[in-house]
Amino acid sequence: MSEVIKIRRGLDIKLKGKADKIFMKAPRSKTYSVKPVDFVSLTPKIVAKPCAEVKVGSTLFYDKYRPEIKYVSPVSGIVQKIVRGERRRIIAIIVEDDGKDTTETFKQGDPSSMSREQVVENLLESGLWPTIKQRPYGVVASPQDQPKAIFISGFDSAPLAPDFDYIMKDMEKEFQAGIDALAKLTDGKIHLGLDARYPAAKAYENAKKVERHYFRGPHPAGNVGIQIHKISPVNKGEKVWTLKPFDVVTIGRLFLTGKYDPSTIVALCGSEVEKPVYYKLIRGAEVVSIVKDNLKQENVRMISGNVLTGRKISMEGHIGFSDNQVSVIPEGDYYEMFGWITPGLKKFSVSRSFFSWLMPNKEYRLDTNVHGGERAFVMTGEYERVFPMDIYPVPLLKSIIVEDIDKMEQLGIYEVIEEDMALCEFVCTSKTPVQSILRNGLTMLRKELE
């Protein structure tokens, strides 16, 4: 239980702009948003139409194919608008905040004394069920399923990721309550992955009903998918559930207070942020509430999440539902003369073909430039160096490109989602869109089998 699992393959990308360990309260936004696009393969059915009055915890929309799974409002107020994209796809639902925080009530009590059905119902009604994701595919879990186990990664190793041991300070009771609820959902174990390099938060060390595992190594050691692979890999036909640590706290608060607590903590980070700190705010807040007058320049890329897997948002956009990080980096839309033969002291590469290798501890100000055109697969061995799973990444991707469902299954697609292969996309010399190819494969497979 306390042996250290070494992750040998991977890459820590050192970027400028790590958030200082200070908590600041963000001002209230005018509007808050829940975005169906933040949830994999979700087709929403709207309940709260524009001008409808909602409370904290009122249903905004539900999953068309699983109507019991509800998505709720983080504030009380009036539904302002529904943002649609191509082909009328629903992108986001915007709620205007009335500041009163009138809230719905849900079941309160000790989950250990409830039945599984009661726990499930409480999570569904309060809109917290979507915090439970499933492997394979990374979609929101199905309440009827019996997962083999539940996995929580207690730390995030992505570039500039927030320090969860810092965030989870003083949340011992809530975290335990959340674990108690989750313990009702599975006959298997709840596995908690921890960072072996630092002493863990009390909430983690003292948690009961969990099995702790310690990981040491570069990113993606903090990815729950990698941890699952090392502890108990997902085989064909099996399902496991995953949660983020702060969502477990929110679940705990639901059972302790009978209310949906929409507050969360977001680390604002990135080279273009003047004062990168940890903000306390409500889920789905406008990003402007934390970046206003806080950016060094205008031509930036704002990302809800980390630079490898996050979603691009505009200045008018909102922070993602489960995101604990907003990264702001410069846009790279410039031409560089002979950029591919320069010594490149400011460029970051896993190859040692730029002189920046002379400074191994340097922090970089990286921008969004692709640094080259998209090519066919040429180099070999580069993905394997940053992908710590016993899966051959390139044959897997090729089987997806040729739409060979059987091969995808055989090569281990059940174990991965985009975040696990994000570093492969980062290092790819041929600039292959690895994450979108993988998502295409997962979608294809899910459609075939369900």
Binding site: K236, G332, G339, F348, T368, R375, L411, E425, K431, Q435
Partner: protein, 392 residues
């Protein structure tokens, strides 16, 4: 260079669809991306990317070839003046070699890139950088007096049949530079082997010193000589073979220069050390095995000598390591490289028709590489299935 950028932006619309020069779009983009890394930003997936791209990768290999190229130029001159029996200074030898080698390089690049430009335009793709390396490799494996028109034909063959018909860079089964060489070897064998093609001028009946022979070390071994001498009868030392002051193809002779390139390639992360190491290991193993039996000059050649004569080192470092035609799994690379080493020595020693087995060994293993990968993948698949059964 803002003025240059503004000029390119101004004329760019003319090559887009509907523009007057649309048929030159790929060519334009080729030159544009040569001058400027494009301003494309990430739109899906990871928002940041490694600064390394195909252009950088190819340039690293070309840089790694420079020691072999420079030495080859000097050696061309050295061998020439040795045959003439004339004293010449360092720069005189180098300049002579440069004048002989540079036209071959020009022909190789112009033919190859010209064909690539045409294919890219037809496919409406960007020009791929693959030929930047092949274009430098082809001259280095040629005998110095190869007629330029042969270089052009071989390059065209290699680019079209060896690469483009399969889909271009990244899709080829065989190593393109070796395809060019093999084409010439089988189509014009008299110009590619023998005693007179390796030293400049011999073919044209230049007046040499008395009793001069331009035979390479392997050529002499094939005649069952067990003492290897240079053109005027002086014995070659192991250092001569390692340094490369011996006759041979333009870039293959100096093991030292090649190893410098190898260290560079491994350091920057472009060359596969697994392949390089296993090729040498395979060659050494086969050499040792043959030494144990002995019998003729080729079998008696000390195993380490096999590694420093002929095209063995050059093939191991620059040809076998071509990522597209080699095995793609790290485990497969050990098997692939080892078999190349073994086969190269085997062909050298036992086949009188092919004094240089390296080229053929690599081409043969190129064909078998997918099979090796297939079995490695099968093993991985079976492991996963077994794990599923055990859990169930």
């Amino acid at each position: 260079m803002n003025a240059l950028r503004r000029y390119l932006d101004k004329i760019k619309p003319n090559v887009e669809k509907g523009g007057k020069f649309h048929f030159l779009k790929s060519t334009f983009e080729g030159f544009e991306t040569f001058l400027f890394v494009p301003n494309t930003v990430t739109s899906t997936g990871s928002h940041i990317r490694d600064a390394f791209d195909m252009k950088r990768g190819m340039i690293m290999v070309v840089l790694a070839l420079v020691p072999a190229l420079l030495f080859g130029m000097w050696n061309t001159g050295y061998q020439h003046f040795l045959a003439l029996g004339v004293e010449a200074g360092f720069w005189e030898m180098f300049w002579f070699g440069f004048l002989k080698v540079f036209p071959i390089i020009v022909v190789s690049y112009v033919t190859g890139l010209g064909i690539e430009f045409v294919f890219a335009q037809i496919r409406d793709h960007e020009i791929n950088e693959g030929f930047l390396v092949s274009g430098m490799l082809i001259p280095l494996v040629m005998p110095v007096d190869v007629p330029l028109w042969m270089v052009a034909v071989a390059t065209a063959f290699a680019v079209v049949i060896g690469k483009e018909v399969f889909g271009g860079t990244g899709m080829n089964i065989l190593n393109p530079a070796l395809t060019a060489r093999a084409f010439l070897f089988f189509a014009y064998p008299t110009k590619m082997s023998g005693d007179r093609v390796w030293v400049a001028g011999l073919e044209k009946g230049m007046e040499t010193v008395d009793g001069y022979s331009g035979a390479t070390i392997l050529g002499q071994a094939a005649q069952n000589n067990d003492v290897f001498v240079n053109g005027i009868g002086e014995k070659f030392s192991a250092w001569d073979m390692f340094l490369g002051t011996i006759p041979g193809s333009i870039g293959e002779t100096s093991t030292l220069a090649i190893l410098l390139g190898a260290v560079f390639l491994i350091f920057v992360g472009v060359g596969s050390w697994r392949i390089m190491l296993s090729v040498f290991a395979g060659g050494a193993a086969m050499g040792l095995l043959l030494n144990a039996f002995g019998g003729n000059a080729l079998m008696d050649m000390p195993f380490w000598q096999h590694l420093i004569v002929g095209g063995f080192a050059f093939g191991a470092v620059y040809m076998a390591t071509d990522p597209v035609s080699a095995t793609q799994t790290e485990r497969g690379k050990w098997i692939y490289g080892f078999l190349i080493g073994v086969l190269a020595i085997l062909i050298r020693v036992f086949n009188p028709g092919y004094p240089e087995g390296m080229m053929l060994a690599i081409l043969l293993m190129n064909v078998f590489a997918p099979l090796i990968d297939h079995y490695i993948l099968e093993a991985n698949i079976r492991k996963r299935l077994k794990r599923a059964k055990v859990q169930a």
